[in-house]
Amino acid sequence: MTAVPETPSSLKTTATAVQETDMTSPSDAATGGTKTPQVSFREAPALTSPVFEVGGLSVFYGDHEAVRDVNMTIGERQITAMIGPSGCGKSTVLRCFNRMNDLIPTARVAGKIHYHDEDLYGRDVDPIEVRRRIGMVFQKPNPFPKSIYDNIAYGPRVGGFRGNLDDLVEETLTHAALWDEVKDKLKTSALALSGGQQQRLCIARTIAVKPEVILMDEPCSALDPIATAKIEDLMEHLAQEFTIVIVTHNMQQAARVSHRTAFFTADVDDKGVRHGRLVEYDETELIFSNPCDQRTEDYISGRFG
């Protein structure tokens, strides 16, 4: 059973509108390297040079082993999607990649995460430097209660940016496809923006510090389809420069935007404790068209439990 994305055609860029209305069977569209970006999977899923190498990763909250023995490699300038049922540890794993878990007092990480061959949890590693290079966008837009301009300028200022801040703000907002919407109200509060605009502002804020990787935890879950489509476009655009890891509950979104997909689920052990596990990790096309594991197939085709 394949779950193939059905993009509402009107929400996408109009350049390839003809192909979007193509009524051929979804599985046909999904095969081959045809240039139909709205319907087919992403091309070039061959693993590029590794950015993160994860080996035997377990994460504990207190005594609870929330995630157990995750092994995966994340490629440079690719979009990697993490999917799976709620509570299986997607956010937990994602937050290991920029050491956000350090901020949770009870959280403890075991196993190996190497970032470009450097141990992310090594003794001398500065978590602040890690987060400067590995940015994060959250599920709920969280702009600072400052002006639009100051939201973008915050990271560079904190990082000691020397240069023309005005130019940087314009360039960043343009990059995030938000400039035209906000250029006349840069000094107004970011909270006056719509949810979708706020989320793009948060993405812009993240790329303003010129990170190498962007982690996104369900960035579109609070957004309507139009705003979602805009952010997906933005991600594809950003993937030319950045490595992106995205957690999503939206299967179509994973299929549409990602090169590789990791499917997580939670096992219940004999004591009734849930442990998150990585079930399957492969090219997105394979995961969606021909998964190896029955649980993956059940999940993506909508058959749970």
């Binding site: 007092p105 602040i128 290079r133 209660p145």
Partner: protein
């Protein structure tokens, strides 16, 4: 809807939506709450109104300009002078000393508790800080007189002569008294800032200090200003400490090493003496009281303005 309603409702499609039983409870509660609100407003208004006639009477005898610009204050003496500046100066000096202690320490304690302290430590530290706020001010006053002044005498350079009662000790101890008020309210304001904002800041590669100073504190600013204003009001209105530790001299000075009498201390002293109702001394108390009220009122107005202007609304 009651349980029996619910069970019988299963089949009854066309049950009316109209209320079957009047809800008296709501009305009673609402009435009680309204009364409570009105009582507090009415009391305030009542106090203000009762201040006015004696104060007006006072200004029939003493001109407003003499009152506000005179530098001699001897309303209870045979030779009466009604220049309030010595009292105002004493109030300002002692309040400033108190705030110089209370605002930095209070904000520092609050930021520590909310942003840095281990949750277990905070659980223990914050209540014990709040206990400080429960100590009667007369105890603070005595503490200033009996411990702080002698201590200051030892510490201060030998050339500085410190009176037994002085503004400095009173101000310092008053500062300590206000710390818990400012710290506790500020901590509430800081803790109310959504965690997501802090995460947003950390995710951009800023540390704890930057996050606290540039994101959390600005987002909590209106609460912090409110905490400080309450602290100032407490300092300006504090009576017991100054009465005990600062003395009664009504000399016009800003030097806190000698005796100083604040507006509140004067009111307390005059009112506890023998003052015939309607006499000029009696009316003087109300004139000073009205000035005190006006000062705190204006301060509150200014702070409301400030808060509106600078706060960052996060919801």
């Amino acid at each position: 809807m009651t349980a029996s309603d619910a069970s019988s409702a299963a089949g009854a499609v066309s049950r009316s939506l109209r209320r079957t039983r009047p809800r008296y409870g709501e009305a009673v509660i609402k009435g009680m709450l309204l009364t409570a609100a009105l009582v507090s407003v009415a009391t305030t208004v009542g106090i203000v109104v009762s201040l006015i006639p004696p104060a007006v009477e006072f200004f029939r005898t003493v001109s407003v300009s003499e009152f506000l610009t005179g530098t001699q204050w001897t309303p209870l003496f045979a030779e009466k002078h009604f220049g309030v500046l010595p009292l105002v100066a004493a109030t300002l000096v002692i309040t400033s000393i108190a705030l110089l202690i209370a605002i930095p320490v209070g904000l520092g304690a609050a930021i520590y508790l909310s942003e840095y302290a281990d949750p277990r430590l905070r659980q223990w530290l914050k209540p014990s800080l709040e206990v400080l706020a429960g100590i009667p001010t007369v105890v603070y006053g005595f503490f200033a007189l009996a411990f702080i002044t002698p201590l200051l005498k030892d510490i201060l350079p030998s050339g500085w002569t410190l009176d037994v009662r002085n503004g400095l000790a009173a101000g310092l101890v008053m500062g300590v008294m206000i710390v818990p008020t400012i710290a506790s309210l500020t901590e509430d304001a800081l803790s109310a800032v959504p965690h997501a904002l802090r995460e947003g800041s950390f995710a951009l590669g800023s540390g704890k200090r930057t996050t606290s100073v540039r994101v959390v504190v600005p987002a909590a600013l209106s609460g912090i200003v409110a905490a400080c204003v309450l602290g100032i009001s407490r300092a300006v209105g504090e009576t017991m400490i100054v009465l005990i530790a600062a003395g009664v001299s009504a000399e016009f000075t800003i030097k806190p090493l000698g005796e100083m009498e604040t507006m509140t201390a004067f009111i307390a002293r005059a009112a506890s003496g023998d003052v015939p109702v309607g006499s000029i001394s009696y009316n003087t108390i109300f004139a000073v009281g009205a000035l005190l009220f006006l000062a705190t009122f204006v301060m509150n107005l200014i702070s409301i303005r400030l808060v509106r202007k600078y706060r960052e609304v996060y919801e």
